[in-house]
């Protein structure tokens, strides 16, 4: 559906995007994960033809963006990071205006607007001015405005920034529903859990460069990040610790916390073996903590940086 090949873009001396390539299959959710200023929005603007790449090609649904920008804009819906709405217009007026830009006949658009308001669950507020809406409701209308021309691809640029958990869940439901209906989705975020929740594939971007991409499983493999099991023993005497660690070098004792740490490929597969080894070595387990591999740890491993809000 989307092929991005060796795309680069500079603004003056700043290289915003460096030799970026990725492919997105039809009906999939592709996550672009990175901190603010990593180049996510520039990639979105390149995809939507607003920014011309200095190098490389972008093919969307068989159309090169250099050849036919208008077609690209018609098959793509973009939910901007900002709440780009007219505060003094009602939700309905906003939707009619934004939908009207795609030359949809008014009666048809009217039906679409009402249906879209249903999707984002704001039909009961359709005639209220946007300025009276909460941040989360504005975000939902912000998404709705990008759905009116029935795009094949939806680009969501950080759609949950500053949204409370309830509205965030609502937005997630909308995204999942659209994806289930076959829409291809590009989702930029700096929230790990969001990328983990939806994305079939994730590209991790840092200072304009994609440092890794693939499914969560593939990223785990690339980064070589393993699951971690932490064990607190009832008796952490030197004799017992020495017996456990000398028999299996995967066991490491952390003097600071007074715990044993074991890295493994799969917690569910390896935990019984680990427990048996400790018990056979005379150790009595007081507590066990498990920490599965997540994007947080992968990102940390790949970039050496933590991804913060």
């Amino acid at each position: 559906m989307i092929q991005v090949r060796s795309v680069s873009k500079s603004f003056g001396n700043i290289e915003a995007v460096k030799n970026v390539s990725f492919t997105i299959d039809k009906g999939k959710i592709f996550g672009i994960l990175g901190p603010n200023g990593a180049g996510k929005s520039t990639i979105v603007n390149i995809l939507n033809t607003l920014v011309k790449p200095d190098k490389g090609d972008v093919i969307i649904d068989g159309v090169n963006i250099k050849d036919d920008g208008v077609t690209i804009k018609l098959i793509m819906g973009v939910v901007p990071q900002e709440i780009a709405l007219y505060e003094e217009l009602s939700a309905y007026e906003n939707l009619m205006f934004w939908g009207g830009l795609y030359n949809i006949p008014k009666p048809v658009l009217n039906t679409i607007v009402n249906n879209t308001l249903e999707i984002v669950d704001l039909s009961n507020r359709k005639n209220d001015r946007i300025r009276t809406f909460s941040g989360g409701m504005k975000r939902r209308i912000n998404i709705a405005c990008s759905l009116l021309h029935n795009p094949k691809i939806l680009v969501l640029d950080e759609p949950t920034v500053g949204v409370d958990p309830q509205n965030r869940n609502h937005i997630f439901e909308v995204i999942e529903r659209l994806n289930n209906e076959g829409m291809t989705i590009i989702y930029t975020t700096h929230y790990m859990e969001e990328a983990e929740r939806f994305c079939d594939k994730i590209a991790i971007i840092d200072v304009g460069r994609i440092i890794a991409q693939g499914t969560l499983k593939e990223l785990r493999k690339i980064s070589e990040v393993k699951d971690l099991i932490t064990i607190k023993l009832a008796d952490s005497s030197n004799e017992i610790i020495s017996r456990i660690t000398s028999a299996n070098p995967l066991f490491k004792f952390d003097n600071t916390s007074g715990t044993l740490k074991v890295e493994c490929s799969s917690i569910s597969r390896d935990i019984s073996i680990i427990i048996n080894h400790i018990q056979n070595s005379g150790g009595i387990i007081e507590r066990i903590y498990t920490q599965g591999t997540n994007l947080e740890s992968i990102y940390l491993k790949l970039t050496g940086k933590e991804l913060r809000d």
Binding site: K73, L74, P80, E82, A84, Y86, E88, L89, L101, R129
Partner: protein
Amino acid sequence: MFKLFKKDLILFFHDQRSVILTFLLPVILITLFAFAYGSIGAYDGRSEPVKLLVSDLDQTRSSKEIIHKIDSLEDIRIIVSDSIKSKELVIKGKYACALIIYKGFQDSLEAGRATQIELVYDRSREMEIGILQQNLISTLMSSTGKIIVRKSIEEYLQDQFPDIDKSTSDNILRTAIKDENNKIAIKWTSIVGEKNDTKLGLIQAVAGTAILMLLFSVAGVGTSILEEKENGTINRLLYSPLKGSTILYSKMLFAFFISILQLTAMFLFAWLIFNMDLSVNIPGLILMILATSFAVSSLGIFLAAIAKTRQQAQNLSTIIILIMSAIGGSMIPLFIMPAILQKIALLSVNYWGIQGFYDIFWRTLPLEAFLPKILILIGIGIVMTLASVQLFKKRIMKL
């Protein structure tokens, strides 16, 4: 483009502050200025009579005759008072001036000595003093002059012809000082603004204020582009199949439309409330409104185009508009400004607009006479539009 225009129009009328700033505030200002400038160029050529305190300490035939003559003047109304109170009233600012005719006035006249007469005045009230000066000098000169001349002739006749009889002497005197013989026949005729009922002050108030407020309104429209850039709606518009130039032109069209609406509303207000005769040159008026609206709206957009942020645009617009309106004649009538400022005024859009409306309503000139002013306004509009398009393409539409 029409959809964007319609959206801006709905937003404009949803925003009560904009509507008040565009229509109500100019109406209030026009009303105030119309009263302030109301007497300038009044139809009958006269303003309210100037009140003159008169204190007659002489109480003679000559002093009473002079007071009577002054009282008969249309531009002056006499209020009789005593000399001390008159001076007090002038000092307190109740009256602009007081005429005191001292005791011995008639005797001095007849003796050919300096006359015992004094005008005390408040220098800050120059306009009233000016009117008095013009009227009093001529009246006093003709009255006292007559007495002095009569006395001189009488003395000459007595000296040269001691035996002359009284009737011959009276005939000679009557002939010598006959009013008609002494008058220089200058006919004063006002030839500008006589064909219509509209006062110059009202034209100044309407045109000056309307253009000033128009500049503020369209600067607001221009600033709204930067506001849209800041809140992301411009980018969102660019995500749609619209072209960047369409977005800009729709804003320009909206600013132009609001300008026409505002100017038309101001002139209709002046017609309804102040009886301003709009029918003097309707095609000319329409063309002037269109040309002024085009120039002013382009300038407003240009002011927004040269700013980087909304705040900067607001500050810059306020400063430039106020300076331009001050030198261009929107705040103070140009004809009372020094010559150098009148030359600098040519650089402002206000000047060409206001002068064009003067040509229509005051000078009642035909269209071809003020067509150059219309063309200059259109020229300003074209230059500003081209500059704005380039600046906006560079700064605003760039992502």
